[in-house]
C-alpha cells in the first residue's frame, strides 16, 4: 500500500511537469498548426539559462527562473520572426523541414558552446525530503509542481480570459476575418510562438535543476510533449494537463507493477490506443471546419 501511495505521489510530481511541457507545445502545434520541433531545444535552452545565470552570474535561484522564461520568450520570438514569418502560407511540410533544421542546428550549437558533459544546478532547497508517513517527496519537486501549476493557470487565463487570448483564438480560427476585425495578425503569430516557447523554457528551467543538463536533454522531453498533446487533443490546454497526468500515471504504474524495462512504452501504448479509437484526442472540442 505504501508503495502504491509513493507511486501516486511520484505521478503527481511527474504529471505536473509533463503538463507544463504539453501546454507550451499545444499552443504552437495545436493552435498555430506548426509542428514545432524546436520545442525540445527551447526546453534545453531554458535549463542552460538557469545554469548560466545561477552558476556563472551568481544570481539567486528564484530570480533566475523568470530570466529563463524571458530568454525563452525572446528566442521563440526570434525563431518566429526569422524562420516562420517568411514561410507563412507555405505548406506544413516546408515548415516542418525548416523546424527540423532549426532543431538540429540549435542542438549542435548547444553542444558546441557547452560541450557534452552534463551540468547540474544547485538549488536552495534542503536535500532531506519531506516525509509524510510512508511516503516522501523532495522539496524541489514540490516547488516545481507548484510553479508548474501556477504557470498552467496563468496560461489558461491568458488564452481564455484576456483580449490577447481572444485575438489569438480568433486568428487561428480564421486568419482573414480576424485581420478584417482589426487584429494585428503578425503580432499574434509572433506572440503565440513566443509564449509557447517561454513555457518550454520554463519547463527546462524548472526541471534542469531536478535532473542534469545536457544538449540532448530536450529530445526525450519533446517526444513526451508531442505524446501529451496528441493524448489531450490539439490546442486543448485542459486536455494537455490531463494528458500529462495520464502519461505520468501510465509510466509510474507500468514501471512499478508491470516491468520497468517497458516504462517508456506504456505511454506510447496509450497513445496508439487513443489514435485508433479517438484520433482527435481524449478531450478534443468539436472543431469548426472550414
Amino acid at each position: 500500500m505504501s508503495e502504491f501511495l509513493q507511486h501516486l505521489i511520484n505521478m503527481l510530481v511527474l504529471g505536473g511537469t509533463y503538463a507544463l511541457l504539453g501546454i507550451g507545445l499545444t499552443l504552437i502545434f495545436g493552435i498555430m498548426n506548426v509542428v514545432n520541433f524546436t520545442h525540445g531545444v527551447l526546453y534545453t535552452f531554458g535549463a542552460y539559462i538557469m545554469f548560466i545565470v545561477v552558476h556563472q552570474l551568481g544570481v539567486n535561484f528564484f530570480l533566475a527562473l523568470p530570466l529563463a522564461v524571458v530568454a525563452g520568450w525572446l528566442l521563440g520570438a526570434a525563431i518566429e520572426l526569422i524562420l516562420l514569418r517568411p514561410l507563412r502560407g507555405s505548406d506544413i511540410d516546408t515548415t516542418m523541414l525548416v523546424m527540423i533544421g532549426a532543431w538540429i542546428a540549435m542542438q549542435s550549437g548547444a553542444l558546441w558552446i557547452w560541450g557534452g558533459v552534463a551540468k547540474s544546478v544547485t538549488t536552495p532547497f534542503p536535500e532531506a525530503p519531506l516525509v509524510l508517513g510512508p511516503v516522501s517527496v523532495s522539496w524541489l519537486r514540490l516547488f516545481v509542481l507548484a510553479a508548474a501549476a501556477m504557470l498552467i493557470v496563468v496560461t489558461y487565463l491568458l488564452i481564455n480570459r484576456t483580449k490577447l487570448g481572444c485575438a489569438m483564438r480568433a486568428t487561428f480560427q480564421d486568419h482573414d476575418t480576424a485581420s478584417l476585425m482589426g487584429v494585428n495578425v503578425d503580432m499574434i503569430y509572433t506572440s503565440t510562438f513566443a509564449i509557447g516557447s517561454s513555457l518550454a523554457a520554463a519547463a527546462g528551467a524548472l526541471l534542469g535543476p531536478v535532473y542534469v543538463i545536457f544538449p540532448q536533454m530536450g529530445d526525450l522531453a519533446a517526444v513526451k510533449a508531442f505524446a501529451i498533446v496528441i493524448l489531450g487533443g490539439l490546442g486543448n490546454i485542459t486536455g494537455a494537463v490531463i494528458g500529462g497526468f495520464i502519461l505520468a500515471l501510465a509510466e509510474e504504474l507500468g514501471a512499478g507493477y508491470v516491468s520497468s524495462g517497458y516504462r517508456d512504452a506504456m505511454g506510447f501504448l496509450i497513445i496508439i490506443a487513443v489514435l485508433i479509437f479517438k484520433p482527435t484526442g481524449l478531450f478534443a472540442r468539436s472543431e469548426r471546419v472550414g
Binding site: S2, E3, Q6, H7, N10, V13, L14, L111, G115, G116, V117, A118, S120, E127, A128, P129, V131, S136, V137, S138, L140, R141, Y211, V212, F214, P215, Q216, M217, D219, L220, E251, E252, G254, A255, G256, S259, S260, G261, R263, D264
Partner: protein, 384 residues
C-alpha cells in the same frame, strides 16, 4: 580563364602529394567513442586520455619513426552509429587498428565490422562478457568483464554481510550482463537475489523503479550505469527516503563528479572501480599514474574524469605497443602482435590471454578491481 585550367591539375597533384606524404609520415589509429548522447561525458574523458597518450608517444619520437595520429569519431552513444563510424574509419581513413567503443552494446555492434574488414580493436571500457566469449579474434579487451568484477567482489560479500540484493541496471548489454554475472556469484555465496529493475539509457526519472526497490525486503541494491544516471539515482533515492546500501559496478562512476553533483546523497554508497587516482601509490604503476594525473590536471581537465580517461590512455598505449611489436602498421601484423605485448598499464600489466571458443579466441587482459566507499564527501578504499 586558361590559367585556371592549367592550375587545377597542379593543385590536385600538390594536394595528392601532400596527402600522400602526410599518410606516410603518420600512423593512424581510429578512435570510436560516444561524444554526444547518453554517454557523452564518459566518451569525452576517454578521448582526452587517449590524446595524452598520443602526445606522450609523439613527444618521444613516435613509433617506427612516425608520429601517431588519432582519427576520432563520435558514435553518438548509438550502436547503429558505432558500426557506421567503424566502417568509415576502416574504409575511408584506412586506419589499421581501432580503439572503442565505450559501451558494451556499442562495441558489440562494431564487432561484425572487425570480422568483415579484418581489423583489430582494443576495447577500453566495455564489460559485457559476450564481447570476449563469442569468438571474435579481432577483439582485445583491457577492461574487466563483469565476471571478473563479480569474482573480485566475491571476496568481500561476507564482510559486507549481504543477505538479499536487488538490481537496478541500465537496459543494455552492459547492465544485463552485469546482473547475470553478479547473480550467479551471489547465488554461489548463498545470497538471495530479489528483483532486477531496469532503466532506459536515456532515462532521467527513476523514481518509479526506486519506489519499487524501496518496498522490497532486500538490504542492498547493486546499480549498474554511468555517472550521469548514477547522480540522478542517488538524488532521487534520497528524495524517496530510500535508505538501503547501494553498490555500483562498471567503473564508470567518476566518484568525484557524483560527490560534486549529488552531494550528501552520495554518502554511504560503494563503488567497484578500476582505477585509483586518489591513491596513486596504491596503483600497480605509481610512476605512470602520477605522470598521467599531473598531465590531466595540467590540461585543465576535471579531476573527476580521471577514473574514465585512464582507459583511453592505456588503450592507446596498448595499440602503440602492438604496432611497435608488429614492425609495420598493418591490421594482420598488429593483430598478431597484440598477443606478444606486455606493458605496464595504470591498472596492472596489460597481457592478453585467450578467451572464447578455440581457434577464434579474443584477447582479455586481467586488470585490477577495487571497492571504494564515499563517506562525508570523501573517498575511502575498502580492501577486497
Amino acid at each position: 580563364m586558361t590559367w585556371t585550367f592549367r592550375l587545377a591539375p597542379a593543385i590536385a597533384l600538390a594536394a595528392a602529394l601532400l596527402g600522400g606524404t602526410a599518410d606516410a609520415q603518420t600512423i593512424k589509429i581510429g578512435v570510436n567513442e560516444p561524444l554526444t548522447g547518453a554517454f557523452a561525458a564518459s566518451g569525452t574523458y576517454v578521448v582526452n586520455g587517449a590524446k595524452i597518450a598520443a602526445d606522450e608517444i609523439n613527444a618521444k619520437g613516435g613509433i617506427l619513426g612516425k608520429k601517431i595520429e588519432l582519427v576520432i569519431e563520435d558514435n553518438k552513444s548509438n550502436p547503429t552509429e558505432a558500426a557506421a563510424v567503424a566502417e568509415k574509419l576502416i574504409t575511408s581513413d584506412k586506419v589499421p587498428v581501432l580503439m572503442g567503443a565505450w559501451g558494451s552494446s556499442l562495441t558489440l555492434a562494431v564487432m561484425p565490422k572487425l570480422m568483415e574488414y579484418e581489423v583489430p580493436m582494443v576495447v577500453e571500457t566495455s564489460s559485457s562478457g559476450k564481447i570476449t566469449t563469442t569468438g571474435n579474434p579481432y577483439v582485445f579487451r583491457i577492461s574487466p568483464p563483469s565476471a571478473i568484477e563479480a569474482a573480485a567482489f566475491k571476496g568481500i560479500v561476507d564482510k559486507l554481510e549481504l543477505k538479499k540484493v536487488d538490481f537496478l541496471i541500465i537496459n543494455n548489454d552492459w547492465g544485463r550482463g552485469t546482473a547475470e554475472d553478479f547473480s550467479k556469484m551471489m547465488k554461489e555465496k548463498g545470497i538471495t537475489v530479489g528483483v532486477v529493475e531496469t532503466m532506459d539509457q536515456g532515462a532521467q526519472d527513476m523514481s518509479a523503479q526506486l519506489s519499487k526497490l524501496k518496498g522490497t525486503d532486500s538490504e542492498t541494491i547493486i546499480v549498474t550505469t554511468a555517472v550521469d544516471q548514477l547522480t540522478l539515482i542517488f538524488k532521487q533515492a534520497a528524495a524517496l527516503g530510500l535508505k538501503k546500501r547501494i553498490i555500483t559496478t562498471g567503473g564508470s562512476q567518476n566518484p568525484d563528479q557524483i560527490i560534486a553533483q549529488a552531494g550528501a546523497a552520495a554518502n554511504g554508497t560503494m563503488h567497484l572501480t578500476t582505477f585509483l587516482p586518489w591513491f596513486p601509490d596504491k596503483t600497480p604503476n605509481p610512476e605512470a599514474t602520477n605522470y598521467f594525473i599531473a598531465e590531466w590536471k595540467k590540461r585543465g581537465f576535471d579531476f573527476a574524469g580521471c577514473t574514465e580517461s585512464f582507459r583511453g590512455y592505456d588503450g592507446i598505449r596498448t595499440v602503440a605497443a602492438a604496432i611497435e611489436k608488429a614492425g609495420k602498421a598493418e591490421p594482420a601484423a598488429i593483430k598478431a602482435a597484440m598477443w606478444d605485448i606486455n606493458i605496464k598499464g595504470l591498472n596492472g600489466d596489460i597481457v592478453f590471454r585467450k578467451s572464447g571458443p578455440a581457434g577464434k579466441e579474443s584477447g582479455q587482459s586481467q586488470p585490477n578491481v577495487y571497492l571504494i566507499e564515499i563517506t562525508d564527501g570523501k573517498i575511502g578504499m575498502k580492501t577486497l
